[in-house]
Structures are given as C-alpha cells and as structure tokens.
C-alpha cells in the first residue's frame, strides 16, 4: 500500500533559543527534510531611520549602538565617518583618533566573533567553547567599560573625534589581552577544527556558491568563505586602514566549516592590526579643530565661557551641513555596513538609510537550507551570524 505523505509546517521562533533573537522561520517539512523556509523579521523594529530624521547628528550616535548590539563601536564608526564625510572634515581627524578608532573597532570585531563562535558552537552542542569565548569576551567588555563607561552600548566615538581619551594604563592592558588572544584562538581550534562531530555538523552544510552570494549581495566573512576576495578595509579604505599590514582570509569551501575558519583567521588578523595600531599610537589631540561642529572637552566647558557657549549651541541647535548626499561603507564584523545620508542644509538629516549586513545576508538562508535536514537550519542560522537589532532597525 502506498504511504500517504504530506508536508508539515512548523514555527521556529521568534522565541526559539537558537534563532539568535526574534527571528521567526516558517519551515515546511517533509519528514526531517526542509522543503521551504520563510524568514519573518520586523519584531524588533524601532524605526531608527525615521527617528534619526528628528535628531541632530550628534543625537543619532547612541541610536547606532542599538543596531548590531554585539558590535556597537563598528556602528558608531560607520555613522561618524559618514557624518564627517558629509561635513568634509575627514582629513582633519587627528591621527590619535584614527588609531584609537581602529583599535576599538578591531576589538569589537574580536568581541563580535567571540559571541558568534560561542553561540554557534553551543547551538551545535559544544558547550565548552561557549564558556571559553565568554571568558575572553569579558576582557573586551571590561576595556569597553573603561573607555566609555558602558559594557555594551558604548556611544564612544563622536563626530570629529572621541568622547574621551583612553584612561591611563589601558594601552598596556589592551596589549596584554591582545597578545594572549592568538593562544586562545588556538585553543578554540583545538576544541573544534579536528573534532569529528564538529566536522560532520559543518562540512558541506549551508553551501552557497559565489554567484548566488553576489546575486543576493552577501558580504563579509560569508562572502569570503565562498571565494570572493572583498574586504572594505583593504578595498575602500577608511580611517587609515591603508597604513596597516594585514591579510584578508579567503576560502573556497562555501560551507559552514569554511566560514568558521575564515572568522577564526580574521580574529588573528585583528590581533595583528591592533598591535600595529598600538605601536603607532602617539599622544595628541582627541578632537578635530572644528569648534562649530565638535563638542568642546568637558574641562573647558566648566572653565571658560567660549567653550560653554559652543557646547550650548551645539547641544541645543546641532550643526548645519551643506546639502548633499554621501555613502560610507565600512567592514563591520558581519559584512558591509553602510550609512547613506542625505542632507538638506539643516541640522537634521533629510534621510538616513542604513545598509545592515545581516539583513542582506539573511536572505541567503532559504537557499542554504532548502532540501537539507532540519538540524542544519540551526547550524546555518549560527554561521550567518545575524543580529536582529540591525536587521529590523
């Protein structure tokens, strides 16, 4: 007698622990095989693009912390670079500011990749890696706390500079931590790379070809694991990245395993960049000399009247920009994070469009899981490294 089969539709998320936030997947299953996967997003929409139209340029910086909340300083950097480009003051940013921005964003890349590795491995069943990664992440959160006062939503970069200089002794602390990092990456590799279970769960899982990746617009480590050599730090340099010597890891496996290896290699490269930046870091000003734009240092505000007036004017009225439109893309940990600003000459942006890497990368998910096992969906969500904060905005 012929078996009477029909497909079954199940909900995965938005409260499922391994959907990494409020992602809902409607899965149509034939037994254990996924026939169709439909992602539903928007549960975390806060209207950041709309809100920014009613805030001065300085007031939007804290909103950007809440995009990719695992890599807040990358978002800060993309936004302040965009505003600086709009104002035409990119060349006036002091060298010390550039170096500190690079150090902090590369630490952010480490931080983001550590959370990715921890959660990805945990989803697949490797509990130990989670504990190890969070141990190192804690050091970075401590550094965050020392420079900005906050452990997650840093709000540290400013248009034209930084909120404050690095506290005394922090350079040494960053160096000690970063120098210990390659050994930790070895440790994670020792736990996972040769592990038969890890290999079974990742090799050949979630494959996506370079053509399909370009068609969708996937960027970041997921693209580089499909053999496309594209990294904005090298290809569209910003913030002085052309001064640093680093490699862009590229692999051609197109699968979860190679995406894992690309990210681990990226962590080693970040360490190289941070050490070079620390070597080149010299004392100097931490704000550009643009009194109409940059908030004066707090010390001056309480001690002299001109700074107080500037502070008052900038905080209450903001600064005006020339009309025009600019795009600034940066290589965030997850891929190309872009800010497209349109200004109409007032103190508020006329339109701000955020190009979040996770939003675009997530579109590749159906193609990566359809026809595969249900268990692979978990691995693929992990390997895409999505953050719903920036997908929904």
């Amino acid at each position: 007698m012929a078996a009477n089969t029909e497909t079954m539709t199940i909900n995965m998320g938005p409260q499922h622990p391994s959907t990494h936030g409020v992602l809902q997947l409607i899965l149509e299953l034939d037994g254990e095989i996924v026939v169709k996967a439909t992602p539903h997003i928007g549960f975390l929409h806060r209207g950041i693009e709309k809100l920014s139209e009613h805030r001065t340029y300085h007031q939007t910086i804290p909103l950007t912390d809440r995009l990719d909340y695992l890599a807040p300083m990358s978002n800060n950097l993309g936004y302040v670079l965009a505003v600086e480009k709009l104002l035409g003051i990119t060349d006036e940013i002091p060298e010390r500011v550039q170096r500190i921005r690079v150090i902090m964003t590369e630490l952010t890349r480490l931080k983001s990749h550590l959370v990715w590795l921890a959660c990805h491995a945990l989803d697949i069943g490797a509990m130990t890696v989670f504990l190890y990664c969070f141990r190192e992440r804690e050091c970075i959160t401590d550094i965050y706390e020392k420079v900005s006062g906050a452990r997650m939503t840093s709000n540290y970069f400013r248009v034209g500079g930084l909120a404050d200089d690095l506290p005394d002794g922090l350079e040494g602390e960053i160096r000690t931590f970063v120098e210990s990092m390659p050994a930790h990456v070895e440790e994670y590799e020792g736990l996972l790379t040769g592990n038969r279970i890890w290999q079974k769960r990742t090799i050949g899982v979630g494959e996506i070809s370079a053509e399909a990746a370009i068609d969708i617009g996937i960027t970041g480590p997921s693209l580089r694991a499909s053999g496309v050599d594209w990294d904005l730090r090298r290809d569209n340099p910003y913030c002085g990245y052309e001064d640093y010597d680093f490699d862009v890891p590229v692999r051609t496996g197109c699968d979860t395993f190679d995406r894992y290896r690309v990210r681990l290699d990226e962590m080693r490269q970040s360490v190289r960049i941070i050490l070079q930046a620390l070597d080149k870091l010299k004392p100097g000003p931490i704000l550009a000399d643009c009194p109409k734009i940059v908030l004066p240092p707090k010390q001056d505000v309480v001690n002299n009247i001109e700074s107080l007036i500037h502070h008052f004017k900038i905080v209450t009225e903001g600064f005006k920009t020339e009309p025009g439109e600019i795009y600034q893309g940066i290589e965030a940990p997850k891929g190309e994070l872009g800010f497209y600003l349109i200004a109409d000459g007032s103190a508020y942006p006329f339109r701000m469009k955020i190009r979040p890497p996770s939003f675009v990368n997530l579109q590749g998910l159906p193609q990566m899981v359809e026809g595969k096992l249900l268990a692979d969906v978990i691995a693929v969500i992990g390997t895409l490294d999505i953050v719903l904060g920036e997908i929904d905005r």
């Binding site: 594209w230 569209n236 795009y327 893309g329 006329f350």
Partner: protein, 182 residues
Amino acid sequence: MDINKVKGQWQNLSTVIEDIDYSVSGHDYNVCLDHEKVRDFAALMLEEGFYLVALMAVHVSPAIEVVYQFAHFETRCRVLARAFVDDNGEIPTISDIYQGANWHERETRDFHGIVFVDHPYLHPLILAEEDVDLKPLLKEEANLKDVAAVRRQPPEPAPEPKAKPEPKPEAKPEAVKSQEQS
C-alpha cells in the same frame, strides 16, 4: 570589466551620467534612469559583475525617488542609480534579476508605499500587516523638499542655478581611487 564600455551601454538607458568624486560622495558615478529602463539597467549591471549594495527610496518633490547602489569587486567602482516612480507610485521590480533586491523592495514598500510591479511577494516585511498604509518615511507637506535642494551644490558661486550639480573641476575619481587603493 571595462568601465568605459559599460558607460557606453548606460548611454542608451539613462538620461544623465556624471562622474562624481569618490572621496567626497562615496560613489564614482551617478546615473539617472527612466523608470521603464530600471530593469534593463539592473540586468546590465548583473552581467558586468556588480553586486547590489542597497536599494532605498527618498521622498522628494516632484516624486518619490528610488535609489539603487551597486559596487564592483574587481574595479572597486561604486555606482549610484536613481529613478523616479511613475504617476501611480509604481516602478518595475528588479527582484527577479537581483535576488537580494527582494527584501529591499518589500522594505521600501513598507516605508514609502511604492508598488514594485511584478514583485513575487510584496507583503509587509518590517512593519506589521495592519500597518501597511502607515508609510512612515513619507514627508509631510511642510517638510517636503525639491530634489535640487538635497543635492550637493555646485562649488563656488555658480553662474546660474542648475537643477543638477556639475562634478567638481578637481574631481578625478579614477586617479584618487587608485592612489587610495595602492
């Protein structure tokens, strides 16, 4: 890819092609299209190996403008293409050419109410089903600006006001780029 050859092909599709300064604007070329030519343009860009960076809309007067951003991996060339929607607020979809445009178009429909004709599944993506008519990013009448008011003004005292800004005289996008990328 030979950019000059591609530019030659743009001639047939676009009304305006201008070189802009990458270091100032973040793009190398600005291309204005008619809404009927959007699909042909996207197909050409895919064939030449560009990827779609983003797709969005801006509410300006006289009509909502849809902005497409492309970038090329090998030449590192960035292109900004724009087209106004037609009188019914419609524009053809490019989601069958660039798969990645699918969500961008759904999002743009959520925020601006633009109908992307022949889109396979133009349902709300970011907003809830009941907010389909909200169109939060449309400007109120008082805040609506003319398209020329949000473009970069010509450098120095312009002899006469123009609708479209000319590229700056010192703009040498190719030279600037190759220097940066060395």
